[in-house]
């Protein structure tokens, strides 16, 4: 399963590296959304700094939808899904691999977004480890839940509109918890942020397990 996961993740990431869609479309859109938030709430520094963690995670959340769409699109070519299905790779491995690829993309995106946020909103992280741990857990949660729903909507003609409706309410707790944790990290009060890791951790764990169990039946159904 793990070897299969590494294979699938490697394949997805190589495709992303060569096509540059994630890098040159998803990341710029996320940065652009930060600028647009600035227009909507700005130019007062205080309002922007206060809203910064929420806006950051909102941008990540919407980028998750884009990254997931993209991850499904890779598999939507003629016969690609059947190829994957008949390759003898464990469905759980496919799930873990695709989720890992999305997670790596989201992690890169967050580094860029964090730099943009520091520059545009004039905030900086006071408790680095808290932000890092929160980011890692949230990224895992977003990637596994997103991949699961991506598989659910794969092969549907209405995928582009259906996926956000299905996945955004599911991801709401991640937005909530990660924003709070980052707010604490920005404010320099780790005690208030640590409790939010108790939402992010279980979320990632639960959807990891659910995905490993249910991805097989979904791949059959698609």
């Amino acid at each position: 399963m793990w070897r299969d996961a590494v294979l699938v993740a490697g394949k997805d990431l190589r495709i992303e590296l060569r096509s540059r869609v994630a890098l040159w479309q998803v990341v710029p859109v996320a940065v652009l959304s930060l600028v647009l938030y600035g227009f909507a709430l700005g130019p007062g520094r205080r309002a922007l700094a206060g809203a910064a963690p929420g806006l950051f995670w909102l941008a990540v959340l919407f980028s998750t939808v884009l990254a997931t769409q993209r991850s499904v699109a890779i598999e939507s070519g003629e016969g690609t899904r059947d190829g994957l299905r008949s390759s003898g790779i464990d469905p759980a491995g496919v799930f873990l691999g695709k989720a890992a690829a999305v997670a790596v993309e989201l992690a890169v995106l967050q580094v860029v977004l964090w730099a943009a946020m520091t520059l545009l909103f004039g905030v900086h992280l006071r408790v680095g480890w808290l932000a890092l741990v929160a980011s890692l857990l949230a990224t895992c949660g977003l990637a596994v839940a997103g991949t699961l729903y991506g598989a659910l909507s794969a092969g549907l003609r209405v995928r582009e509109t259906l996926l956000p409706l299905l996945v955004l309410p599911i991801l709401a707790p991640v937005l909530l918890a990660a924003s709070r944790a980052w707010a604490a990290a920005l404010a320099g009060s780790p005690a208030a942020g640590v409790s939010w890791l108790r939402v992010l951790g279980p979320f990632a764990a639960v959807y990891l397990v659910v995905g490993v169990v249910l991805y097989g039946p979904l791949l059959e159904a698609g």
Binding site: A145, L165, P173, S195
Partner: protein
């Protein structure tokens, strides 16, 4: 054309009885709630919404979505896999969404005079609203055309994945609230100790709406079965019509194709 024009058999008696009983008990609840029970000391006449709101929420959040999750699980489990569970899940989600919306509506009607606002970012309100969106997504997914088996599997997974989210949403929103002590007056005494006629009315409300729920799900389930049957039948009938059309001109010219043309026509008459 017999199969098409024959009227579907009437609703089973137990469904009709449940519906009638539910209607009578609901009417009784309304009468008791509006005229018989006294106004509350603290809330005045506003308390009358309490006979309706908790039973509606109970139906939506526990009965309907609980049943949907259970049926989806039973569908996914190979040993109990049957379209019965899929249709039951679909029916109860649909009824649940209606009751979920009613929960929010009655809650807001009560909240406006009590708290002074239609909406507050309270844990229960927020998670109930999210639940509504979650299961609206389920219904949207159901409308995507697919074979019954594919749709059933897809929807069962969606229902389970959504259901898993419920406790996470609930706890995260509770923590959000406690960390963000807002101006809401939720710690006000919401549940004055109920007794006497008020308690009986509330209990009756629970029974009445549970019966209404059972009735609605049963009827909705039947619609699902009939819709599947008509879908299959319509396809069959129109296929046979096309065959008959294609065969008709040929059949009038050559004798040997007449026999072939007659066969589908006979099947239509069945």
């Amino acid at each position: 054309m017999n199969a098409r024009s024959s009227t579907p058999e009437r609703l089973p008696r137990w469904i009709r009885a449940t519906g009638a009983l539910g209607a009578v008990l609901s009417a009784l609840t309304v009468w008791l709630g509006l005229w018989v029970t006294p106004p509350d000391k603290v809330q005045g006449n506003l308390v009358r919404l309490v006979y309706l709101h908790p039973p509606i929420a109970w139906v939506a959040l526990y009965l309907a979505f609980g049943l949907a999750a259970l049926s989806s699980l039973l569908y996914l489990w190979r040993r109990t896999r049957s379209l019965f569970w899929d249709r039951l899940a679909a029916a109860s989600v649909e009824v649940g969404v209606v009751f979920n919306a009613l929960t929010l509506a009655t809650g807001m009607l009560w909240g406006r005079p009590t708290w002074g606002v239609w909406w507050t970012w309270d844990a229960r309100l927020t998670s109930t609203a999210l639940l509504l969106v979650l299961f609206l997504g389920y219904l949207a997914l159901r409308r995507v055309p697919a074979t019954p088996e594919v749709r059933a599997k897809r929807c069962a997974v969606a229902a389970l994945v959504a259901f898993v989210d419920v406790p996470i949403v609930h706890f995260s929103v509770i923590w959000w609230q406690t960390l963000h002590q807002g101006a809401t007056v939720l710690n006000a005494n919401l549940s004055p100790t109920i007794h006497g006629s008020m308690a009986w009315t509330l209990l009756l409300g629970f029974v009445a709406l549970t019966l209404v729920f059972v009735w609605m799900v049963a009827v909705r389930y039947r619609i699902e079965v009939l819709a599947d049957r008509t879908g299959a039948l319509d396809l069959e009938v129109s296929l046979e019509e096309r065959w008959a059309e294609a065969a008709a001109p040929v059949g009038s010219q050559a004798a040997d194709t007449e026999g072939a043309g007659a066969a589908p026509a006979a099947r239509v008459e069945r």
